[in-house]
């Protein structure tokens, strides 16, 4: 018997759980009905189909119900639910509550199944004669996704993980034996500060739409083989494949833009296993798309097209397994921890893989595979080669990324290559080079057969021009310092840009049909060129030109090995002390707080040779400090057209707990305590107009004047109070202070003045009338007591090429979708 707990809101959870089960039921009904509708011999009987549709509608509506219930729980902060408690908190604004929705694994599945439901409904509306077999596949995939959310136990085995799990069921703790436990749970865990960013609101939905849409070309290929309509599935599948490539590509680049703009790993791509996994399906499907077009135009490459389209969805399932099963624990910082879904995810892959293999094997003999070889000088042959190279590039990524999987399967303990980033860079650049060159010269080839002389002339002319352009580009961008392969990629990019640019100009003159691919290829070339230049010639701005303090024996030994390559990127700067960094003079000018963010004002100035200031701006990198998450740093970036200046804080002084208490303590216990914060004082005997020098500047005694009031101490006629007006110049900034000397009766007091910004404390300690001088005692803070930050500043040249190239590529995909969509004749 369940105990009654006070204050729980069980209704939305029950409702949500009901919808979860209903969505599973709907998907099951839809799958079975569509299956029987497909295999039913009686063409006039549409009852199965109607039932399939109803099943799918039920599934779609229940998913909306699940989303609504979950959102209701999150929005109302019902922390009795594990999901709300884990990923949100009361202070989160509404738009982050929305993103808290897909913060957890269950939310990810929910987003995926939601998009798949949307796509399914479009297919029901549009697919015509393909509806039955295609929807069988889509509904079957819905069934699997719904099962991931079930969270019910059957014979002791937990199936799926429900977002409506109660906190007291998720965690075992004695507190839950009390009926009023909820009154002790005041707030949720909140969202990781790194995720509190507008990208978190738009990146996951885009990425999941991309992943979800890969199922459609897969379903068409599957249906084509199943129903033995071998040739017909190609034409309708192409626009969906284009759409999937476009959205998936956008989602992936959004992720890297997010990383670049607000995470702190100093770049836009880190070759993290989870990142790699997200481009597996993209690479495969882009290859698949090209061979689909090859088959459509020439009748070649049928098997490759089927293989790649089927493999792309398997890759979607595989990347989901990698990200969610916890298997990447030792190699990735992004992966989720296993939620008990490990074997469930494996089964998801194996079932679809098994079905796909079964169909390919049984239908292989009937496939319209051309017996003839392609012509060497034909577009179809080289497009096919390009698709295979995209596949090889993915093959390499899969092999390396899956090292933990191989370890698990074979019981080995192999670690990934030690210099992983350059390993990926060099091998992937080699594939990229081949692919860019292919996207270039295959444009000069025609389907079937091409005039070879003409082909060679135009190819070589363009290659020569590309070479002429690449040489200065490589020289001025600094790419020549890198591995040779990156220069070749640059050549490939320039070449593909030139050739596709020409095609684009032709297209604008009349052959508008060809514009889509030309635009997409131009975008791809720009994107790659931007990525290579920005990542390859990334400049370090935060280099200390005055030389670092060497730790004994460290630098020497470090020079002998490769480790020192990427380090020494951080620099410490004291507040208000300008430091030269690269072309800039950089000053840590202060900080401000707008909780939970702390902003550090970093002032950048640039001077010309004559010392005239030509540029001045301020960057405000941000840091969040919290007990739960530690220090979380986000960069701030100055964007120029041709490069970006990227700055982030990498270390701060230990939070000074005694800081505020210190001030009070000092006041209470007299000045002695406070003096510990300073170097030993130095006394100077000076007259009016004399100068005292100190570490960061100088000060001048301007005047001595008789005071009439000191703070709130009234001064009577019998008192003598003298103030020393002192102007201070510290690090080219002006301050002033007025320490006071007072005689009351037989007692002597002096009132010191501090200038915190300059780290100074001044006292007027003696008046020497015979010499007409006074004694000023200067206390200066030792350097390490002064406020400082450690920062890293990087310069990313031409990174805008990467982003603008992506946009152009998306535009190209869009144009192609419109073109290919027109080619579908409703059947």
């Amino acid at each position: 018997m369940n105990k009654a707990f006070q204050g729980e809101h069980l209704l939305p959870g029950h409702l949500g759980q009901f919808f979860v089960i209903l969505s599973f039921g709907g998907a099951l009904l839809s799958t079975l009905s569509y299956y029987f509708a497909t295999t039913n011999k009686d063409a006039l009987d549409s009852s199965w189909q109607r039932m399939g549709r109803w099943g799918f509608y039920i599934n779609s509506l229940s998913i909306i119900g699940v989303c609504a219930s979950l959102f209701y729980i999150v929005y109302n902060h019902y922390f009795e639910y594990h999901y709300a408690w884990s990923y949100t908190s009361k202070e989160l604004p509404v738009y982050y509550l929305v993103s808290g929705f897909w913060n957890g694994q269950e939310g990810g599945f929910l987003l995926w199944t939601f998009w798949q439901a949307v796509l399914g409904n479009i297919l029901i509306w549009k697919a015509k004669s393909w509806e039955k077999p295609v929807m069988t596949v889509v509904a079957f995939s819905q069934l699997w996704l719904a099962s991931m959310l079930l969270g019910i136990e059957i014979f002791g085995a937990k199936i799926g993980s429900s977002p409506f799990l109660l906190l007291r069921k998720a965690i075992e703790a004695p507190i839950f034996s009390q009926p009023n436990y909820l009154s002790f749970i005041k707030d949720g865990q909140g969202m990781n500060p790194l995720l509190q960013n507008y990208w978190m609101v738009i990146h996951p939905p885009t990425l999941f739409l991309g992943l979800a849409s890969v199922v459609v070309p897969f379903a068409y290929a599957f249906a084509g083989l199943w129903r033995k309509r071998y040739k017909e599935w190609i034409t309708p599948a192409i626009p969906y494949a284009l759409f999937a490539c476009m959205i998936l590509g956008t989602g992936v680049v959004m992720g890297s833009l997010w990383a670049y703009e607000s995470l702190n790993f100093g770049g836009f791509w880190a070759w993290d296993p989870v990142e790699n996994a997200s481009i597996f399906p993209w690479l495969i499907l882009v290859g698949g798309l090209h061979v689909l077009i090859v088959y459509k135009n020439s009748g070649h490459s049928y098997f490759t097209a089927v293989f790649l389209v089927l493999a792309s969805f398997i890759m979607v399932l595989y990347q989901s397994f990698l990200a969610r099963s916890g298997i990447l624990g030792e190699t990735s910082v992004h992966s989720f921890v296993d939620n008990g879904l490990f074997w469930h995810l494996v089964a998801f892959i194996l079932v679809f893989l098994g079905l796909a293999i079964y169909l390919v094997v049984t239908r292989y003999k009937e496939m319209p595979i051309s017996k003839k070889d392609e012509e060497t000088y034909s577009r179809e042959f080289w497009m096919f080669v390009g698709a295979i190279f995209l596949g090889l590039s993915c093959f390499h990524l899969v092999l390396v990324t899956s090292i933990p999987v191989w370890n698990r399967i074979f019981g080995t303990k192999v670690a990934p290559p030690t210099d992983l980033v350059s390993h990926y860079n060099i091998i992937q650049a080699s594939f990229a080079m081949v692919i860019t060159v292919l996207t270039g010269f295959s444009q000069f080839l025609k389907y079937k057969k091409t005039d070879t002389t003409k082909f060679f002339i135009s190819t070589l002319v363009y290659l020569a021009v590309a070479l002429l352009i690449t040489v200065p580009v490589v020289y001025f961008s600094g790419l020549y310092k890198l591995h040779f392969v990156f220069q070749l990629v640059m050549l490939g990019c320039v070449y593909t840009l030139l050739v596709n640019g020409k095609i684009l100009i032709d297209a604008l003159k009349g052959k508008f049909k060809l514009a889509g691919s030309a635009v997409a290829h131009v975008g791809f070339g720009l994107m790659l060129a931007g990525a290579i230049i920005a990542a390859g010639t990334r400049g370090l701005v935060s280099v200390n030109e005055s030389g670092t303090v060497a730790i004994a024996g460290f630098d020497k030994s470090a020079q002998g090995n490769k480790i020192s390559g990427d380090s020494h990127e951080n620099m410490m700067i004291y507040k208000n002390e300008p430091v030269k960094m690269g072309p800039y003079v950089v000053t840590y000018a202060g900080d401000s707080t707008s909780l939970p963010d702390h902003f550090y004002k970093i002032d950048y100035r640039r001077y010309d040779d004559k010392g005239k200031m030509i540029e001045s701006f301020e960057l405000k990198p941000k840091v969040q400090l919290s007990d739960k998450m530690g220090m979380t740093s986000s960069p701030d970036t100055k964007h120029y057209l041709t490069h970006d200046l990227y700055t982030h804080i990498t270390a701060l002084p230990q939070p000074k707990e005694p800081a505020s208490a210190d001030g009070q303590a000092a006041a209470a216990h007299g000045d002695e305590n406070d003096d510990k914060n300073y170097d030993p004082p130095i006394s100077h005997e000076i007259a009016i107009g004399d100068t005292i020098r100190f570490r960061e500047g100088y000060m001048v005694l301007r005047a001595l004047k008789k005071e009439t009031a000191i703070q709130n101490i009234p001064i009577t006629d019998s008192d003598v109070a003298i103030g020393a007006k002192i102007d201070i110049v510290s690090n080219n900034k002006n301050y002033s202070a007025e320490p006071v000397y007072m005689i009351r009766g037989k007692n002597v007091f002096d009132f010191s003045r501090t200038v915190d910004e300059a780290g100074l404390k001044l006292r007027l300690t003696k008046i020497i009338p015979e010499k007409n001088k006074v004694e000023i005692t200067v206390y200066q803070q030792p350097e390490n007591k002064k406020p400082w930050v450690v920062m890293r500043a990087l310069d990313f040249p031409f990174i805008n090429l990467l982003w603008s190239g992506t946009l152009i590529m998306i535009l190209g995909f869009l144009l192609s979708i419109f073109r290919r969509n027109k080619e579908i004749k409703p059947v």
Partner: protein, 136 residues
């Protein structure tokens, strides 16, 4: 021989080359003892010794961070990292270091942390919850 067969052979050749390159570049997970025996870079799995001092003094060198790690065999070694303290470092329950021995110190070029707090916070917070109930 058909052109497609030639191309197939080339593709298989590239695939094998890729596997060989990965195999040749692959490192191993080892211990500090293994690191002492070899000159090459390797990965060591271990955990941070939270009792010992984490040294970072930005005033001396903003790119020098040292700490002590116990490897999976229980051996402890001083580790030097040329950079700043990574985020969540002190919360990590497991650390994977990439680097090599220099004298008696392990110089790490990369630190990968497994943090319990980031994605599954349950474990840490149970103690939270308990503390609250105890104070009633």
């Amino acid at each position: 021989m058909k052109k497609s067969s030639i191309f197939g052979l080339i593709v298989i050749g590239i695939a094998i080359a890729v596997i060989v390159v990965i195999y040749a570049g692959a490192s191993t997970y080892g211990s500090f003892t293994d690191a002492r025996k070899t000159e090459s870079v390797l990965r060591v799995v271990g955990h941070l010794d939270k009792q010992k001092e984490l040294y970072y003094d930005a005033a001396k060198d903003a790119n020098y961070f040292s700490f002590y790690v116990k490897d999976s065999k229980g051996e402890e070694c001083k580790v030097v990292f040329m950079g700043t303290e990574p985020q969540d470092f002190q919360k990590s329950e497991q650390i994977v270091l990439t680097g090599q021995m220099v004298g008696s110190e392990f110089h790490a070029s990369e630190i990968l942390m497994k943090c319990p707090s980031k994605y599954t916070k349950d474990k840490l917070d149970v103690t939270d919850v308990r503390a609250k109930s105890a104070s009633i």
